[in-house]
């Protein structure tokens, strides 16, 4: 008997991670196919969070939608309402006062600080470094207090209204905010030092989930994920609101791995703290920041607008179209996580199963932002793998 054919059977393991999983507090399901320890394919299954928001916005009036779109994502709610409000303002030709613009930037930058801190804390937890997680979360409470002072709620600010913001900042609160930020800055530097020097973090994050700059633009990845790979994308450069007047640096690193993405977030946190300090010291006092909500126009002109904003996770875009009625004709939301998570399936391949949550967390997944989708990863087709099921059908 001569052997004329050898069939190699790959031992393919199917590991579902999520939607309820100790390492993932998000309703997403990663179906990981592994050969031994090596990941060969990842399917991102979501849709557990699809709430039909775009359809819902067509059924509600322009003003009610401000509160609905801030609930697309709780972590970056002010950014969502800012970009929607700016799109509506462009349709309606309303210009907020300079003070209101500064306050909007202040609220958005506070949000960036707390968002970057929480994802770094979660990263520490996923790596098994619970002490660091607890310390970062303790210091994050300072930012939550600052948000409470400014907006009136810890998480969901509901701070913006067409034509301005919904509450002004008085002198006492301004000093309190300044104190909080002054206290926060040394703590953040301490964590940067930990991330730069600690061996545990270094070993788990360096060289994991490498994305080349070319892949970033081809797959449309945005935000810190792109900036960690040396791609200089930042929607704030457009100078919307007061970003044209507040000085800031765009952090770009060329590490290309998970560690680089986390470091981009830490240095952006420092950058945001100094922006907030600048705003608090140079808050203009011309013009009222708070519009009278009972007197806002009730007529909406026909028109369309497309606004972009740099959310903590990357470029967030809204398209708003009005046909002259009370409700918008179409609102299209494209969130950063929608691109970052769905299009990044390629980056898991070749790593071990234990690295999958690390890589996912390094993209700062915000599943509620994604809002939708069951997507199969785009296979690059370098190697062909067969699952047992496919193999049996093929042998018939």
């Amino acid at each position: 008997m001569t052997v004329d054919k050898v069939i190699e059977i790959p031992v393919s393991l199917e590991v579902p991670i999520g939607p309820q999983h100790p390492a993932l507090h998000e309703p997403v399901m990663l179906k990981v196919y592994a050969e031994g320890e090596e990941v060969v394919k990842v399917e991102v299954n979501t849709g557990y969070n699809h709430r039909g928001i775009e359809r819902l916005t067509e059924k509600n009036s322009f003003y009610r939608n401000i509160f609905i779109v801030s609930r697309v994502c709780g972590i970056c709610n002010i950014v969502h309402s800012d970009v929607y409000v700016r799109a509506v303002e462009q349709v309606m030709d309303i210009e907020p006062s300079r003070r209101a613009k500064y306050l909007r930037v202040l609220a958005m930058e506070l949000e960036r600080i707390h968002s970057h801190m929480i994802i770094n804390a979660i990263m520490a937890e996923i790596l098994g470094y619970d002490t660091l997680f607890m310390y970062i979360m303790r210091d994050r409470e300072k930012v939550m207090k600052a948000k409470e002072i400014l907006t009136g709620n810890r998480v969901l600010g509901d701070y913006l209204m067409v034509g301005g913001v919904r509450r002004d900042l008085n002198e006492v609160d301004r000093e309190r905010l300044k104190n909080i930020l002054v206290k926060l800055e040394p703590e953040v530097w301490k964590y940067i030092k930990v991330f730069e020097e600690d061996e545990t973090l270094w070993k788990r994050l360096r060289g994991v989930g490498v994305i080349k700059p070319r892949d970033v633009t081809l797959h449309g990845l945005v935000g810190p994920t792109a900036r960690g790979s040396g791609v200089n994308i930042d929607a704030r450069r457009e100078g919307y609101d007061a970003y044209g007047e507040v000085p800031f640096n765009i952090i770009v690193r060329s590490d290309m791995d998970s560690w680089g993405r986390m470091m981009v977030r830490w240095h952006e946190t420092i950058e945001s703290i100094s922006m907030c300090k600048y705003i608090l010291e140079n808050l203009p006092s011309n013009g009222p920041a708070v519009p009278d909500e009972t007197r806002l126009p009730r007529k909406f002109p026909v028109g369309e607008a497309f606004a972009r904003v740099e959310a903590p996770r990357g470029e967030l875009t809204y398209y708003v179209m009005s046909d002259g009625r009370q409700n918008p004709y179409r609102v299209k939301i494209r969130t950063p996580s929608f691109n970052n998570i769905i299009n990044s399936g390629f980056s898991y391949i070749g790593h071990t199963i234990a690295d999958v949550p690390v890589i996912l967390t390094s993209y700062d997944p915000c599943i509620s932002c994604m809002e939708r989708a069951i997507i199969t990863d785009l296979r690059r087709g370098e190697r062909m793998y067969l699952r047992f099921k496919d193999l049996s059908t093929r042998l018939k």
Partner: protein
């Protein structure tokens, strides 16, 4: 690359007083302007229903006032009842009200085994309503 640099911090807190707030034995500091429970003051409410129309969560229902309640200006004799379990505390009703009829508090202690409504708080604001 060096030693785990968090050790100093850990040791500092190991001997220091814990950062934990002893809630519920000790209160936490809540901002006065925190957006908590709110209800309509029936002395000012005219029953115009604007808050119910503008509420993004549809948490406000207009209900008939009880017979005994005496209200100064409310021809239709209806008043808004906020469902605290559905309310998202955006305070759109507070800012849109043309008569400033909403009373705001920073009360957040609403957890309980049943759904809560603002009915009793509103009726207590007028004579003959609360009984």
């Amino acid at each position: 690359m060096g030693k785990p640099s968090l050790i100093k911090e850990v040791l500092k807190w190991f001997i220091g007083r814990p950062v934990t707030i002893q809630y519920p034995y000790e209160g936490t500091s809540i901002e006065d302007r925190f957006r908590g429970r709110h209800f309509a003051d029936l002395n000012k409410c005219t029953g115009c229903s604007l808050c119910a129309i503008e509420c993004p969560a549809d948490a406000i229902n207009m209900e008939k006032l009880p017979e005994k309640a005496s209200v100064p200006k409310n021809p239709r004799r209806i008043y808004p009842v906020v469902s605290y379990s559905k309310c998202v505390y955006c305070y759109r009703c507070v800012t849109i009200c043309p008569f400033d009829a909403y009373v705001t508090t920073n009360d957040y202690k609403l957890a309980g085994p049943a759904r809560l409504y603002s009915r009793d708080y509103s009726l207590q604001s007028i004579r003959g309503g609360g009984q």
